[in-house]
């Protein structure tokens, strides 16, 4: 939401004090605009090389893939977030530069192809080695550590993006005149609850 739109929303809340029910339509409109504003334009990596960035995009979509109702992490801007922060922090950049190189090197040894060039099955097989703590070993350790970083930051980036917030089903950050919980949700939980 731009500063102007935010002010409009706040004004509509202030107006509602004198006019009665809140102008929810106005509020929702503002929130919708904010979501659109981010979508346009192609991002040019600031820190990662184009190969590293492409690898990160592949990895991000393997961590949070698209499905019938929501996009994957790359389309939601997760890699832009990581690249931007890495451009501001050499320590973070080193984690991604080194981690992606580790991924490529391991993929080369296993498949004679770098990670992006490997087949989806080959990519998944490699990730299965580094996505679980039970595989901890001196050889896989660096990969496990990198995957933890990437997974955490991809999840953070995805679910703080407009698409991810929609995907997880957060319906708040809006002005409501009366706070109510739908009976359907109460019944759902009570039916499943031991108390």
């Amino acid at each position: 939401m731009s500063e102007t739109s935010r002010r409009d929303l706040l004004q509509s809340i202030a107006l509602s004090v004198t006019l009665g029910p809140l102008s929810l339509e106005a509020a929702q409109h503002v929130h919708g605009l904010a979501a659109q504003a981010k979508a346009a334009g192609v991002y040019k990596p600031k820190a990662l090389t184009s190969h590293e960035y492409k690898t990160l995009q592949t990895l991000a979509d393997l961590i949070i893939p698209a499905d019938d109702t929501s996009p994957g992490a790359a389309a939601a801007g997760a890699c832009e977030f990581i690249d931007l922060l890495a451009s501001q922090n050499p320590q973070l950049l080193a984690i991604y530069t080194g981690g992606i190189a580790w991924l490529d090197h391991s993929s080369q040894r296993l498949n004679s192809k770098n990670f992006v060039g490997a087949s989806p099955e080959q990519q998944t097989k490699l990730l299965d080695l580094i996505a679980y703590r039970k595989n901890e070993s001196p050889i896989l350790g660096p990969g496990i550590r990198f995957f933890e970083w990437a997974r955490r930051m991809v999840v953070d980036a995805y679910y703080t993006s407009p698409a991810g917030i929609k995907a997880i089903g957060y319906m708040g950050n809006t002005a409501v005149a009366k706070f109510e919980i739908p009976q359907e949700a109460i019944d759902y939980a009570l039916k499943r609850s031991p108390v």
């Binding site: 935010r6 977030f81 922060l85 703080t160 089903g169 319906m171 919980i181």
Partner: protein, 572 residues
């Protein structure tokens, strides 16, 4: 280089600090026609500009984690997150404090008009009748010089004016007040209430300083859950928006921002004649002359100011003949525990934002239990629901859920909003090893000697934290949750909060009837200096299991009325 500015006019009252205490005194006095100079060590607050209410995480490129992902590597500059309305933190540049060897303590300071009330949890609980006579009841601590009946009319005034939600319950540990309707409970809160009932624990509508009906020109809450970011519509209580700004409109209040009080200046008769302060912007040394002074800097900062106001008449600090300034420091006992509740998995989506805090809470229920393993008690705060996602929101789920891909995405969807956690807030009893004093070796950037903290929990508090764990585990398991955190070894000091962490520090200039053992009389007027009052939590004699803000407001209101009356009579 410091310069001395010209002499100021004489103000009826100089109030130092604009938080719950200073804000209340300023508003009450201004309404009574008294002229006030209000000093704060921070800048003016502009809610429209300073509050980040309604912002989405993606509206900031770093989304709240800080440039370069700072929060992934250590603490960010924002103690409670980028979007919070805090102004200040656990450490302030150029304004240190020290902690004595063997002690652990952390001190949260907010330098801005409104202080910590801009972001606080809004929990507004009356002390119980028995809270004012703790010594009489169990032989520990000290009784207050006032009773519940003395303060009750001021609780009424405070609640009516600031607006507090709640319901009439008739529970002795949680006296009823003048309440606005509390919004409906959230789904997880209903489950907690049912589990608590099975365990014979009460769970009742929340008492938060949030208005659910238009009040004194302030619109009702719009239920965005972002009280902690500061409320642009002033639908919750902050002293800045609810007291200081309206008081300024009376024309009787002059506000001095970025004014760091150095000392109280006295004359030969031992009365305060002026407040000496540093104008931070110009680093100029200035004085405000006054007929009376109200110190409301926050308990520890108030003690520091008194201890630093040394003179021939007051070699140990002003009003400190008893030696009690800085002593009797307490914080609340804090402990938290949560669990994933499978019954909430996949909960049908809805907006559960509501007020910025719980809609139900658990008041202390064992106030008359015999054979308890610890004295006093605690209340329980509940959290859960569909919060706006932020950086780190899913850390707990990621720890429980390995892997990636569609399975991970589905698991995160299912688990979103399915966690419930409890935070206990309990009573610490003052002890002789817990206090603050002036560090003889360290000064801040203005040359003002800083505080050194000493802090020790005793078995009273450690056993209470252990009881919190057992209670929380019982409720979570009754709800079908599994507690994965191993039980801390409480009696060795594990698990319990760090002193100061709960930000309920108080007691450092306690009131009492005997000048030999107390700093202030029962109106929070210094025994030794008739025109010196303290109006934050420093006058508190004990620290019951109720967050102090509402009582700070009620006590400050009472002190302000007393002060105005004494001025009218010519006694101060």
């Amino acid at each position: 280089m410091f310069q001395i500015a010209p002499r100021s006019p004489v103000y009826d009252v100089v109030v130092i600090g604009s938080g719950a205490g200073g804000g209340t005194v300023t508003k009450v006095l201004a309404d009574l026609g008294v002229s006030v100079a209000l000093l704060d060590a921070g800048p003016m607050l502009d809610p429209q500009k300073d509050f980040k209410e309604h912002m989405w995480p993606y509206q900031v490129p770093h989304r709240g984690i800080g440039e370069g992902g700072a929060g992934y590597f250590g603490p960010t500059p924002w103690a409670f997150g980028y979007f919070s309305a805090t102004s200040g933190g656990w450490q302030l540049a150029g304004e240190p404090y020290t902690v004595a060897p063997g002690s652990k303590f952390q001190w949260f300071r907010s330098r801005v008009i409104g202080g910590r009330t801009n972001h606080f949890g809004r929990i507004s609980l009356r002390f119980a009748d028995y809270d004012f006579a703790p010594y009489t009841r169990d032989g520990l601590g000290t009784d207050w010089p006032i009773t519940y009946d003395d303060i009750a009319p001021y609780y009424d005034k405070a609640e009516s004016f600031i607006g507090v939600t709640g319901s009439k319950e008739g529970i002795r540990s949680a006296p009823d007040g003048i309440f606005q309707p509390c919004p409906a409970p959230r789904v997880h809160e209903l489950l907690v209430q049912r589990a608590a009932k099975k365990l014979n624990i009460p769970c009742i509508p929340s008492r938060l300083a949030v208005i659910t009906k238009p009040t004194n020109g302030r619109p009702a809450c719009h239920y965005c859950a972002q009280c902690g970011r500061g409320c642009v519509t002033a639908s919750n209580y902050s002293s800045s928006q609810v007291q200081v700004f309206p008081a300024m409109k009376t024309g009787r209040v002059k506000v001095f921002t970025n004014a760091m009080a150095r000392e109280l200046v006295t004359d030969g008769s031992g009365k305060v004649t002026a407040v000496s302060y540093v104008d931070k912007a110009t680093r100029t040394e200035r004085q405000l002359r006054c007929r009376t002074v109200v110190v409301a800097c926050g308990a520890c900062e108030s003690a520091r100011l008194l201890l630093n106001s040394k003179s021939g008449s007051f070699p140990n600090g002003i009003a400190n003949g008893s030696g009690q300034v800085g002593r009797n420091l307490t914080d609340s006992v804090g402990y938290s525990l949560g669990a994933h509740i499978p019954a909430l998995d996949g909960l049908p989506r809805h907006n559960s934002d509501g007020m910025g805090g719980m809609h139900l809470y658990i008041p202390w229920w064992l106030w008359d239990a015999k054979n308890k393993e610890f004295p006093r008690g605690y209340h329980v705060e509940i959290s859960g629901g569909f919060h706006m996602p932020g950086i780190g929101s899913f850390n707990g789920d990621l720890r429980q859920q390995e892997g990636y891909g569609k399975d991970l995405k589905d698991a995160l969807y299912n688990r979103y909003g399915a966690s419930v956690s409890f935070a206990g807030r309990g009573e610490q009893i003052p002890n002789e090893n817990t206090y603050c004093e002036i560090d003889p070796d360290v000064v801040d950037q203005f040359g003002i000697p800083v505080l050194r903290f000493h802090f020790q929990w005793t078995d009273n508090e450690l056993k209470q934290a252990q009881h919190m764990h057992e209670t929380f585990q019982a409720i979570l398991e009754t709800m079908g949750g599994t507690v994965t955190r191993p039980k801390p070894n409480f009696l060795t000091g594990q698990g319990i909060s760090t002193g100061g962490e709960i930000i309920h520090e108080l007691g450092t200039t306690r009131m009492g009837n005997d000048p030999a053992t107390s700093v202030l009389n029962k109106y929070a007027q210094a025994h030794e200096v008739k025109n010196l009052f303290v109006a934050d939590a420093a006058p508190f004699v004990s620290n019951p299991d109720k967050n102090p803000t509402l009582t700070i407001i009620a006590m400050a209101w009472r002190t302000a009325e007393y002060l105005a009356e004494e001025m009218r009579k010519g006694n101060v």
